[in-house]
């Protein structure tokens, strides 16, 4: 008995040590080290380099009090306001000029991008884990957020191209003969006035491309739309948040909120890095390793494809794709599906080479 107790105690200590060990080196600390290291080398002056050198590796957060949000995105996205990083890979790239009118220390990130502001691991922060209700808006999809704050139709069309295109498509396809939006239209299908608070971008895309797959027995017609049209319609639908935003979310449209945002003085933010040109080529950053399986769910493949029991049914099941397809074919297909199958319905997902490699290697293991 004594021996058993000793063994058990040692095992317990081992378990505790193992757990403590694996909590040791979080992903974000890596990005910060790389960033400060590169930033010192790329610094324009020795004072600047010193400033970087004295920065600590720690969780960074922006507290947006009027919106009751805490965003920790800048824990990894450290360079959003650093012009020396205009050509760096994510997550260390300079943000587009939009942040000059929406400075991060006042707005945070999730007002525009959604995502899980408090999280500090990539997939969770991006809301790209299965079951997340705050899937991040990437690329063009971000436009869906602009009219939460700006009065409708006040932004330049260039900044809201997708919304404009989406609205045109919805009128052309006469969606309102079955759906209502803000009290207009018929009610054969569900009311879409608050659809943006119920569905995320990938679900909407998938539904538009093939309604029965998202909802078997759906009577909504399959429209002959292109991928680009579907995206535009989706962005437009995402702007439809209804009059009642989720109870515990910000009341974006309340007078109170507008007041507090406009109360911000934006002028004090002439960043110390402003007007500095970036020079030369950046050392390649190789610390971000793509994991094909994670990426499969993160990039939204799972919304349309099924592996085993998990996933959607818009596209074919990929449970045994590794037996059917070769590496080269998959690589060509994922980089541009329409080049391989001109009238296929698989969207172009604009993946980069490393993402494609990771995905292909993962798909090949499915046998």
């Amino acid at each position: 008995m004594k021996l058993a107790l000793t063994i058990l105690s040692i095992a317990l200590v081992a378990v505790l040590l193992a757990i403590a060990w694996s909590e040791e080196n979080p992903e974000w600390a890596n990005y910060q080290r790389v960033y400060f290291d590169l930033a010192q080398r790329r610094a324009q002056s020795s004072t600047q380099a010193d400033w970087y050198r004295t920065q600590r590796v720690e969780i960074r957060q922006i507290s947006v009090a009027p919106l009751k949000r805490v965003d920790r995105c800048t824990t990894c996205h450290l360079a959003v306001a650093d012009p020396n990083f205009a050509d760096a890979p994510e997550p260390l790239r300079l943000h587009s000029a939009l942040l000059q009118s929406h400075p991060p220390e006042r707005f945070g990130c999730t007002v525009c991008h959604r995502g899980e502001g408090r999280a500090v691991t990539t997939l969770t922060a991006h809301g790209e884990v299965p079951g997340s209700s705050v899937r991040m808006l990437r690329g063009e999809y971000v436009q869906a957020a602009c009219y939460l704050c700006h009065a409708e139709k006040t932004l330049p069309p260039a900044a809201t191209s997708e919304i404009v295109a989406g609205e045109i498509a919805i009128n052309q396809l006469r969606c309102l003969r079955c759906h209502q939006i803000d009290g207009m239209g018929e009610s054969e299908g569900p009311d879409l006035s608050a659809i943006g608070s119920r569905r995320d971008a990938l679900e909407l895309d998938a539904h538009l491309l093939n309604p029965p797959a998202m909802n078997s027995g759906s009577t909504m017609p399959i429209f002959p739309i292109t991928r680009a049209q579907a995206q535009a319609i989706t962005v437009y639908l995402l702007t439809q948040q209804g009059d009642a935003p989720p109870a515990n979310d910000v009341r974006y449209r309340s007078a109170n909120f507008r007041f507090s945002i406009f109360d911000f003085r934006l002028s004090d933010r002439k960043s110390k890095f402003e007007n500095r040109k970036s020079d030369g080529v950046l050392a390649p950053i190789v610390f971000f390793r793509y994991d094909g399986q994670q990426l499969f769910w993160a990039a939204g493949c799972g919304v349309c494809h099924r592996i085993g029991n998990e996933g959607g049914a818009v596209g074919p099941a990929l449970t045994r794709i590794g037996r059917v397809r070769e590496r080269d074919w998959l690589r060509r297909y994922l980089s541009d599906p329409s080049a391989v199958r001109p009238d296929g319905r698989m969207p172009q997902l604009y993946l980069n080479d490393r993402e494609i490699d990771a995905l292909v290697e993962f798909l090949l293991t499915l046998r």
Partner: protein, 388 residues
């Protein structure tokens, strides 16, 4: 005696003053050790080897006890961060998971041990039932046990709301509306629990106070009483024919077994808690009910019954079951077959108990796993229609 002498003897004197057993030697010392120490005296000084066999109790009662201890420890750690307001509750849960050092581990451990405790307590009840452990003179301890079961369920249920996510909000909404099916006092009970008509901040603070103050206090008290009764009732039930002379001393044997169970529990639960995250849904949202909305799994059986008939399933069946549990030891007093698993002399009881147990497991599985939107039936391989 000089200071030096006293210093040299300090460890021994301290041990004597703590264990209060210096006057004895040998076996009597070991017995005194248990009898004279507050922490240990709750054990019987001697136990019958029959009761110590793993396959007799499976250590389930001790498991339940340690789970409660682990829950209290992790619960106190969680309390350092958790803020019970509708604005902050969900955010503090996220902070615990995302940035508090080891916060995720502690939360997972708390959640999984809580679910584990419901299972273990139910299994312990089943073991006592199937070994006839509730027969005289242990009738009252069985009633105490029923109280422990109810408290365990209540603790689990009140804890369920605290993360303030969609799962929590709607599970409590469904759970409390089942309570409202009771005639006469159902609505009152629900209003008392919720502090209003629906789940609000009032409910959160009520559940919080119940969960961290009142219920754990009652549970600890009752567990102490339960253990004391075991000692006073002459240890665990066992067949009459066994001689008592073979009794072994509790110290150190029983204590070692208990310690081993704790260590084994931690070794199993910690890696599990590290690897598997406890669920946290979207923030609670009163305007978007999920479909289906399910009660916590240990009440989903009742929800399933309610879907057949609100009165029969929601009131009659649970009340009958509860009455049966309460009166069982006073109605079934036949001393034959006590202390043996599935004793042939108790064929009827064993059969009845097994049928009820299996039926409970069956409705729970159907309700928890096979019910989709609008409580329609789906096989697991069918999947539900529509985006989940």
């Amino acid at each position: 005696m000089g200071l030096r002498e006293n210093l040299a003897q300090l460890p021994r004197h301290f041990a004597d003053s703590f264990f209060r057993s210096a006057a004895f030697t040998g076996a009597r010392r070991q017995a005194a050790l248990v009898a004279n120490t507050w922490f240990l005296h709750i054990h019987p000084a001697r136990m019958h080897p029959y009761s110590l066999r793993v396959t007799f109790t499976f250590g389930l009662g001790v498991f339940a006890f340690w789970l409660f201890v682990i829950l209290s420890a992790t619960g106190i750690l969680l309390m350092f961060y958790y803020i019970p307001t509708t604005d902050a509750a969900y955010a503090t849960m996220q902070d615990l998971i995302f940035v508090v050092p080891f916060g995720r581990l502690i939360r997972n451990a708390h959640r999984w041990t809580a679910e584990g405790m419901v299972v273990v307590v139910a299994l312990h009840l089943a073991r006592v039932f199937f070994t006839g452990g509730y027969k005289p003179p242990r009738e009252f301890n069985w009633l105490v046990g029923v109280g422990l079961l109810l408290l365990t369920l209540a603790l689990s249920f009140t804890g369920y709301l605290l993360p303030w996510d969609q799962l929590a909000y709607w599970a409590i909404t469904v759970g409390t509306s089942i309570a409202a099916y009771f005639p006469l006092f159902g609505d009152l009970l629900r209003a008392l629990l919720l502090g209003g008509e629906t789940v609000t901040e009032q409910t959160l603070i009520r559940f919080y106070v119940l969960h961290v103050v009142l219920l754990p206090f009652l549970l600890a008290l009752l567990i102490g009483y339960h253990f004391w009764r075991i000692r006073k009732d002459g240890g665990l039930a066992r067949p009459r024919a066994l001689p008592t002379t073979e009794n072994v001393l509790s110290y150190p044997r029983v204590l070692q077994i208990e310690l081993a169970i704790l260590l084994a529990l931690l070794i199993v639960f910690l890696p599990l808690a590290y690897r598997f995250d406890a669920p946290l849904g979207a923030p609670a949202d009163a305007t978007h009910p999920p479909n289906p909305a399910k009660a916590p799994w240990y009440f989903v059986g009742v929800q399933e019954l309610v879907s057949y008939s609100a009165v029969w399933g929601g009131v009659v069946a649970p009340v009958l079951l509860f009455i049966a549990l309460l009166f069982l030891p006073y109605l079934d007093r036949d001393p034959r077959g006590v202390g043996a698993w599935f004793a042939p002399e108790r064929k009827g009881m064993v059969a009845a108990g097994s049928v009820i147990l299996l039926a409970l497991v069956a409705v729970t599985i159907i309700g928890a796993l096979l019910r989709g939107p609008n409580w329609a039936f789906y096989w697991p391989w069918e999947g539900w229609p529509g985006p989940k």
